[in-house]
């Protein structure tokens, strides 16, 4: 028997209308709508779309919790085996909605769920726990390929067979690494990689480090002599005794400490709680990580406007990217509210 699919679309692909209809409230249609018809074809009889859930992009984001609750309730009524959202291509609001629907419906109904979108869509940012996202082109010109890929992954997830690596089974890497056995020892594989690289062949690392964030470089500081410079660090340098209990690894906390009026960080007053490097040198002299002494002289010489009166600190050892991103946002918000011009981030 064909498995049951519930499909999520926005107002445009759901046939309600374009941007002018982005306030369209949540509705449910029986059976496939719009791209859902081709998705069903791509499923080739293995699955059928029992219902299509449609919500305007603005309506979704303006009342996100309410919309998600309705979407979960509606999905539950149709008892799907799989939820599919999109494809949203490069559309940001739609992509974020697809990601949220995929995460929530998948978790609450405990069914496989997946979305389709371009890898640079803000909805494709890693979530915790991660969701399945099939990479698509940037526009609906790529609709057929997107639906083929989504149908393939839906079938695979539904089959219960173990999923292969992201590149093999056609989804965006979820930041999960699995051990696997290889008949050849690491030394032989490493030498092969090196020889391949020397020969100019396209070799692939066994341990890719993902570039998760592409941040547009901020413009250069135009006038250092009037700039407020702040110090922010993941080096775990805190007042002795670690008053805010920042964790030595997998930190979830950050703190701020006053350096107002200090000529330098006094030896003996600070320590590093970072579990990932030898702290001996910074425990002797914390200016080796946070160069307060040097910045003070430059402040006096008017090379900079001023040193921000607080420094910000967390601990980067074995940092969870989701937590790090949250803390980065929180610290950035404080810096920006305080009118800080630029930041030096000593990294350990």
């Amino acid at each position: 028997m064909a498995f049951r699919v519930v499909h999520y679309l926005n107002q445009f692909y759901g046939g309600i209308g374009g941007e002018a209809q982005a306030d369209a409230p949540f509705t449910v249609r029986e059976g496939p709508v719009g791209p859902g018809r081709r998705l069903e074809q791509a499923l080739g009889g293995d699955g059928r779309i029992v219902a299509t859930l449609i919500c305007g992009d603005n309506a979704f984001h303006e009342r996100r919790d309410e919309a998600l609750a309705k979407i979960v309730a509606a999905a539950r009524e149709w008892a799907p085996d799989v939820l599919v959202a999109g494809p949203a291509f490069a559309s940001g609001r739609y992509g974020l909605a697809c990601a949220a629907v995929t995460a929530r419906v998948g978790a609450e109904l405990r069914i496989p769920a997946l979305a389709g979108m371009h890898r640079d869509n803000p909805g494709a940012q890693p979530l915790d726990p991660p969701i399945y996202i099939v990479p698509t082109g940037e526009t609906s010109v790529e609709m057929d390929a997107a639906l083929e890929g989504m149908a393939r992954l839906a079938r695979k997830l539904r089959s219960g067979q173990p999923l292969g690596p992201a590149a093999v089974d056609g989804y965006l890497p979820r930041g999960i690494r699995r051990n696997m056995r290889d008949k050849r020892p690491a030394a032989a594989r490493a030498v092969d990689l090196l020889l391949g690289r020397l020969a100019g062949a396209a070799v692939e690392t066994e341990l890719p480090i993902e570039v998760r964030d592409r941040v547009a470089p901020p413009p250069p500081v135009a006038d250092l002599a009037h700039a407020t410079i702040a110090l922010v660090t993941e080096a775990g340098v805190v007042p002795k005794g670690n008053p805010d209990g920042i964790e030595a690894a997998r930190a979830t906390r950050w703190a701020r400490y006053s350096i107002e009026g200090m000529e330098r960080l006094r030896p003996g007053d600070y320590e590093s709680i970072h579990g990932g490097y030898d702290n001996a040198w910074v425990n002797q002299d914390a200016n080796r990580v946070l160069p307060v002494d040097a910045l003070r002289t430059m402040e006096r010489e008017r090379m900079i406007g001023r040193l921000h009166p607080e420094y910000f600190v967390t601990c980067g050892s074995i940092g969870n990217p989701t937590e790090m991103r949250r803390m980065g946002r929180e610290i950035a918000r404080e810096l920006s509210a305080a009118g800080v011009t630029a930041v030096i981030l000593p990294a350990t």
Partner: protein, 63 residues
């Protein structure tokens, strides 16, 4: 690593145990060196970049 994770202005400074320190110098020498590292950091902040870019410390005082 900083390049691969997408940091845009990267300064090659001290060891990762003490990016703004050099315990092998005399205290005065270390302070002077630190000032130069901070000056290089400020030059990096004032430089236009298109993507991850590595800056070097220019030393003008010998140890």
């Amino acid at each position: 690593m900083a390049t691969r994770v997408g940091a845009n202005r990267i300064l090659r400074a001290g060891r990762f145990h003490h990016p703004f320190g050099d315990p092998n110098r005399t205290p005065e020498g270390e302070f002077l060196w630190r000032r130069q590292v901070v000056e290089a950091a400020l030059r990096a902040l004032a430089a236009p970049v298109e993507g991850p870019t590595t800056f070097e410390v220019t030393e003008y005082v010998m140890r």
